[in-house]
Amino acid sequence: MCSLCGILGCDDHWTNAIARPGVYSRNHDTQSRRAEESRRIKAANAVLSFRRLKLDVWQGRSYVVASPTGGSSVFEALSHLWPEAEALAGREFDPLDENLMSWMEEQR
């Protein structure tokens, strides 16, 4: 269920689409799903570290984003990551922000 609006079955994000004919997805089976999830968490953490946040899997089914001051937020689909992270950080993640772009360049 969507933790933002309460709608059931909302986790079909385009980056992780349910595998079906013609659709590109890495969501074919448990192994590929978990491997892609691991990569997505790593990619997200590269961005989240800009505000000292960290994302992890929570109890194998959900996600938790945590701040260095002990704050945390649990949600069920990675499509909700950015609203949750911004609420926790109290600041936005703007990919066009010069400081965030510089941060991402430094990560590489």
Partner: protein, 345 residues
Amino acid sequence: MTTPVVLLTGFLGSGKTTLLQRLLTDTSMDGAAVLINEFGEVGLDHHLLDRIDDNVVLLKSGCICCTVRGEVADALENLNSLRAREEIAFDRVVIETTGLADPYPVLQTLTAHPVLRSHFTNGGVMTTVDAVNAELQVEHRAEAVRQIAAADRIILTKTDLADPENEAALRARLGRINPAARIATTLDSVESILGDFGPTTFATPVAGQGDHDHACGPDCADHTHHHAHGHHSHHHDDALGVTSFSLVIEQAIDWTMFGTWLTLLLHKHGDRIFRVKGILALEGEDRPIAVHGVQHLVHAPTHMEHWPEGPRQSRLVFIMEGISPDQVRRSFAAFTGISAVRAAA
């Protein structure tokens, strides 16, 4: 198997219903169900479509972009139920929106609705543009610009009434607003209008691939930059500050980081990014992946069967309002580690 839903949109009086009537005479549309969103108390349009009255559902709540979305969902669910009970049969759906509709909420409904997304898919956006009055509409009405930006195919109407010079100027302007859409006219055959139509059609070269199709004026801030490396171009249009901008990336892209970047970009700026459309060469994939989005929405990416003619390089087109193309290019490079200069190497 999902059923394609074609969205027929266009500004008030631009000839949507006339076009729909004509399209429905074609045998390829025999299996189409039609949903008409009607603005106002009296339903006129559906009377014009009695040929398919068994499959017409009239949406009565007015503007589709703010109040009818639930009814669009209900109407599609109803159609699906009727088909499941074998009371009707159809193999595609056409939704004619009101002239003031923003196409995004309907597309969002198709993608996000937990039931509909299993049965229906985006079949493409067809936008009618009045060749006589479009200039004025584009200047003053954001809805008209959004409809053009969302189009996979633009159909020029009333071209028989338009001055040829004005039509040529309008075509150039439409190309600046939405370089990824193919333009047809109502004088073309139905086969030509419908041929190769769909949301992931890439038969039309994406503007900006070449170095010499740059349509900027002399005041273009990025003009020097564009010609310096030729890996992105952009087109301004005065209409509400709309800019279309394309990136060409020769290096294979990391899908995961690309997804993270585009998700975040549309999360923050989807209100100002009317359209994203592209074909991607991903790391570890031989076949191209097509992505397309409207505002905050990105449809499920399509795994294409083969590369279109031309070089095997990623191409992304953005249609944006109030965002600098250089900002997007720099952001893409910062997140993916692929710069245009590196791509040129």
